[in-house]
């Protein structure tokens, strides 16, 4: 049997831009329960990766908005502006109990964007801002038992 060279592909790494690594790490690690898988500092550059409990191989890497590789000062300023305005791309998670998750994050002081709500396309979801200004959404499939 021949296996396609693309058959084994999976997402391994995704990136979030943050203005402050320590504040962001505290949120992802202490509130969302993620594991820090890498934390390497080289001068002003810091590579900090976290993983969710169910996907230890998928690294969510926090990158500093001020030190984005290969960007001009104007680019950095533009990205920082987008982050501050909350216009960067969101990250969307799934979970088994979105209401319980919502209460947990609220109790920890999370910045609510949307309370749990049934969406017509088959999920119940809520949304928060992370401390840097990224939108995080949490979905629960409505057809789960």
């Amino acid at each position: 049997m021949t296996t396609s060279p693309t058959a084994s592909l999976a997402v391994r790494n995704c990136f979030l831009v943050v203005d402050d690594h320590d504040t962001a790490m505290a949120f992802y690690r202490d509130v969302l329960g993620f594991t820090v898988t890498q934390d390497v500092t080289n001068g002003d550059f810091r590579w900090l990766s976290l993983a969710t409990p169910t996907q230890p191989e998928l690294e969510i890497t926090l990158q500093s908005v001020g030190i984005y590789p290969g960007s001009s000062p104007a680019d950095r300023e533009a990205m920082d502006t987008l982050l501050a305005k909350g216009l960067m791309n969101p990250l969307i998670f799934q979970c088994d109990d979105v209401d319980a998750l919502f209460e947990h994050v609220v109790a920890a002081g999370g910045e609510v964007l949307q309370e749990p709500q049934d969406q017509f396309y088959g999920v119940r979801d809520c949304a928060f801002r992370d401390p840097a200004g990224n939108m995080l959404r949490f979905n629960q499939r409505l057809d789960q038992g």
Partner: protein, 143 residues
């Protein structure tokens, strides 16, 4: 614009997205953002290309449209549920944004939509007059 101001504007915008059903008004939002109403209005428009009031009403209309898609909610109930107190201004704003009256929208058949993340779905169901025809067709809204 200073970063601190941008973050305050974002929080005000998030508050409208979160608490749209409450009786929010621009002077109160401006006070929370530590700005005068006029300054807040100008800064918000500069940052987001719409006024705070436009953003709030667009958000309310989006949510009202979501309620009306179910078909079992009356136009008046949808209006009140999203924080609008005047049926007249609700209807005229709805019609301006959606291209049809709330009653017409409610009566229309709404097929199953694709699984679109809400942040994107909000955009897809946000006919603020700037979307292309192909985007309207994808969203199931006649041009």
């Amino acid at each position: 614009m200073h970063r601190d101001d941008l973050v305050r504007l974002r929080r005000a915008r998030d508050r409208m997205d979160r608490d749209y059903a409450q009786p929010l008004d621009v002077p109160a939002l401006a006070a929370e953002a530590l700005m005068s109403p006029g300054h807040f209005h100008r800064m918000f428009r500069e940052a987001y290309d719409e006024t705070p009031y436009q953003h709030l009403m667009t958000r309310r209309i989006e949510r009202a449209a979501a309620l009306l898609r179910h078909g079992d909610v009356s136009v008046t109930d949808a209006c009140m549920a999203v924080g609008c107190t005047s049926l007249g201004s609700f209807s005229s704003r709805f019609t301006a944004l959606m291209g049809v009256t709330p009653s017409e929208y409610r009566a229309r058949a709404h097929g199953a939509a694709a699984v679109i993340p809400p942040c994107v779905g909000k955009l897809a169901d946000r006919p603020a007059g700037t979307r292309s025809g192909s985007e309207k067709r994808r969203a199931g809204v006649p041009a």
